[in-house]
């Protein structure tokens, strides 16, 4: 029976790819998929273990390949990630990453920056959904921020012109703007989202944000089934804290994306419960938890694996394993709603392992 279903899946996939010509997401139902796992530093290993345990309890068809990422100096003096990590990621295309520490004055750029440059991770996607059971003043938040991650204000190009005058350059290119706009509409379409809003400040930065906005408008023309609106950054901030339900998918350049995605994370409860995914060229996608390494609680079983777990669920959805993703997500939300077993940052007193066990139990009960 399994093999029959597998064949049917492959046949429908092949037919599907003839139909619209775009690459289909890999969804070998019932076949094992290998995913590169980067546990990270600090609480990274504990929460990665928690996620692996929960996936096992859910019978998710995922095989984990663990790799460690540190900065090493390659030939030519350039900093790069270890070659075996790079090779594993290029082979598997999908990765899950825990928090990485960046020591100050280490001499090398941050690990996140290295990963971003190595795999050309151009889009950062952060879905923010209110968690029932973790009360914040904002209820019913359900939006996604898509942020351009390679250029914009974070190009790192700065000059000291004369003593006391500094200039930072914000770079906007046609190619990157087009790429992120296309991705935003693809995402909206694949995830049944009704509208995409471009966030900009083209009234002040007329040429740069003007270019970004033009590209978004062009992409909107090609995707008429998704509604497109544009809004100034300050109007978005103003309305976001008054009524976040009016927003759906937001697409924006680097700096605004950084600020808005953290703002939205604050609306639903902070970085400890927010998932995040980075999409790169060549089909690479790395899902990560955006909180820090929390060295003060590392190894003490106090960590909260929710952020990494929800990122892993996002990964399952990206791979097409929607049913498994839904199962794990529901178990996680139910556990938080029950409020019986909660980690310290969620307001409870339990340990990480107890929280993980509660979720595993719920997942097993669902089958």
């Amino acid at each position: 029976v399994h093999r029959f279903i597998g064949c049917a899946a492959i046949v429908s996939r092949v037919l599907g790819s003839f139909k619209n010509g775009s690459p289909q997401p890999r969804n070998f139902i019932r076949e094992m998929q290998t995913v590169t796992l980067i546990p990270g530093d600090g609480i990274g290993p504990e929460i990665s273990n928690a996620v692996m345990k929960i996936f096992e309890a859910a019978n998710a068809p995922i095989e984990w390949e663990e790799r460690n990422v540190t900065a090493i100096k390659g030939p030519g003096g350039k900093w790069m990630i270890p070659p075996d990590a790079k090779e594993s990621m290029d082979r598997n295309k999908i990765g899950l990453k825990g928090p990485l520490k960046t020591p100050i004055a280490a001499g090398h750029p941050s690990m996140n920056l290295l990963l971003r440059k190595t795999f050309d991770l151009y889009a950062n996607v952060r879905p923010c959904v209110s968690i029932e059971g973790y009360k914040t003043p904002y209820t019913d938040v359900n939006l996604v921020t898509i942020r351009e991650n390679t250029e914009g204000e974070y190009s790192g190009i700065e000059h000291l012109i004369v003593d006391g005058v500094v200039q930072s350059i914000k770079l906007i290119t046609e190619q990157a703007s087009e790429r992120i706009a296309e991705y935003a509409f693809e995402y909206a379409r694949n995830n049944q989202r009704a509208s995409v809003t471009a966030v900009h400040k083209a009234n002040i930065m007329r040429m740069s944000d003007g270019l970004f906005l033009r590209k978004c408008r062009e992409a909107a023309e090609k995707h008429k089934d998704v509604k497109f609106t544009e809004m100034y950054l300050d109007t978005v901030c103003l309305n976001m804290v008054q009524d976040p339900t009016q927003f759906d998918v937001l697409v924006m350049p680097n700096l605004y994306g950084d600020i808005l995605s953290d703002l939205c994370a604050g609306l639903i409860g902070g970085l400890g419960v927010t998932p995040s995914g980075n999409i790169g060229a060549n089909g690479v996608a790395i899902f990560e938890s955006v909180h820090g390494t929390a060295p003060d609680i590392a190894g003490k079983d106090f960590a909260n694996p929710t952020a990494l777990l929800l990122s892993a669920v996002m990964m399952l959805r990206h791979m097409g394993l929607h049913s498994h993703g839904k199962k794990i997500e529901t178990a996680c939300f139910d556990t938080i709603r029950d409020k019986k077993v909660l980690t310290k940052d969620l307001g409870g007193n339990s340990k990480c392992s107890e929280f993980t066990e509660a979720i595993c139990q719920k997942v097993r009960d669902m089958d």
Binding site: E158, S168, K201, N203, D234, D262, G266
Partner: protein
């Protein structure tokens, strides 16, 4: 607050010469208090609902017998009423009056060949470097965060809004963000002076120096240097994305915030949203010689033009602040008390606060409450 003995730039020494007992910053020359004559104030209605809000201010002032006369100017980019001559007229009026009240001059989206909008050019010509927004919760109108009391100070002339953009290669656009030591120091000193004057305890600098190491790093360094001159005021700094997150989770940890241009725009609007929106937050812009009073969150709100639904609270509270700046304390209290009383009673509210009343109704209610002025 005077800086005798501290050798500052010339304009500081000039401005601090008059020992004024006014409630305004001593750096800004305010006209002497004369209860018998009227004050002349430049008025710039702007676009969108600006003219309606100005009418509200004029109605309330007339009903309250406030001795202020307005010099009106209509400068508008979207309605094609803008030109260099009009700008010059406006500037000469400002040089005489020193105080202005204005709405927002809308910047049209189309790129007409000029990178700086009229609003920015006005700001630069008058050197209005500091924008102060008062974020206070209104008693009687509850939001998700009640009892807020923040002051947001934003550097308004440089930073990301330098309007220096060029296309270096087809398809690649560069936009320059300029940060200078002189202006950063100036705004930091302004922030600490303001905090000292109003009895505030803490000043927090907002930045992104982990990414923009040279630019925001310079800003942060200037703030730290100035902070050492004020040992009584606590100084902290926070990264902009963390700041936004903290503002929606726990805004009570902040007191006075100081930041460069773009972050100021974001945080002004965010904080305005926390207490009820763009219709309830007053703000002002200061330079060494001039003071311009306006709303805190600057939007022309073009969708509401002609429909009589705009909320005049922000403009009325800003007008009350202007009266205090002109040393008309009695009238200032009269206007702000009347507005607060109307909001507290909750019977007359405009649409953005959840009511059904028009701007006219609200102004009428404020005028009614003016008659119950307390005896000082």
């Amino acid at each position: 607050m005077t800086f005798w003995g501290l050798g500052g730039p010339k304009w500081w020494q000039q401005a601090s010469r008059s020992v004024s007992i006014s409630a305004s910053l001593s750096r800004v020359e305010s006209p002497p208090a004369r209860a018998d004559a009227t004050f002349k104030v430049t008025m710039l209605p702007g676009d969108g609902v600006g003219p309606e809000l100005m009418t509200a201010v004029k109605d309330v002032f007339k009903a309250g017998d406030v001795p202020v006369e307005f010099d009106e100017f209509h400068l508008s980019e979207v309605q094609n009423m803008a030109s260099e001559d009009k700008l010059e007229e406006l500037l000469s009026s400002m040089k005489n009056n020193k105080v202005a009240i204005k709405g927002k001059i809308h910047t049209p989206m189309e790129f007409k060949g000029e990178l700086a909008s009229y609003e920015m050019r006005l700001r630069r010509k008058l050197d209005l470097f500091a924008n102060v927004v008062h974020v206070n919760s209104l008693p009687g109108y509850s939001t998700r965060h009640n009892n807020l009391d923040l002051v947001i100070i934003r550097e308004q002339t440089e930073g990301e809004y330098s309007s220096l953009e060029h296309e270096s290669v087809p398809g690649v656009i560069e936009c320059l963000k300029i940060i200078t030591r002189a202006k950063s120091r100036r705004i930091a000193k302004f922030a600490f002076d303001y905090a000292t004057k109003k009895g505030r305890n803490k000043v927090t600098a907002v930045h992104k120096a982990n990414i923009m190491k040279l630019g925001d790093g310079l800003f942060l360094q200037c703030c730290a240097e100035v902070a050492q001159l004020y040992p009584k005021i606590k100084y902290e700094n926070i990264i902009i994305d963390n700041c936004c997150m903290q503002l929606v989770q726990n805004p009570y940890q902040f007191d006075v915030l100081v930041m460069p241009n773009l972050y100021g725009n974001i945080i002004d609007n965010l904080a305005a949203g926390l207490v009820g929106g763009a219709g309830v937050v007053p703000g002002e812009s200061y330079s060494a010689e001039y003071a311009v009073f306006e709303t805190g969150a600057r939007h022309p709100f073009a969708q509401a033009v002609g429909r009589n639904i705009a909320n005049p609270t922000a403009m009325l509270l800003s007008a009350a602040n202007m009266l205090r700046h002109l040393n008309l304390e009695y009238h200032s209290h009269m206007v702000s008390d009347a507005v607060k009383r109307v909001i507290k009673q909750g019977k007359v509210r405009t649409r953005d606060l959840g009511g059904y009343c028009t701007t006219g109704d609200f102004v009428h209610a404020v005028v009614e409450n003016l008659r119950h002025r307390p005896n000082y």
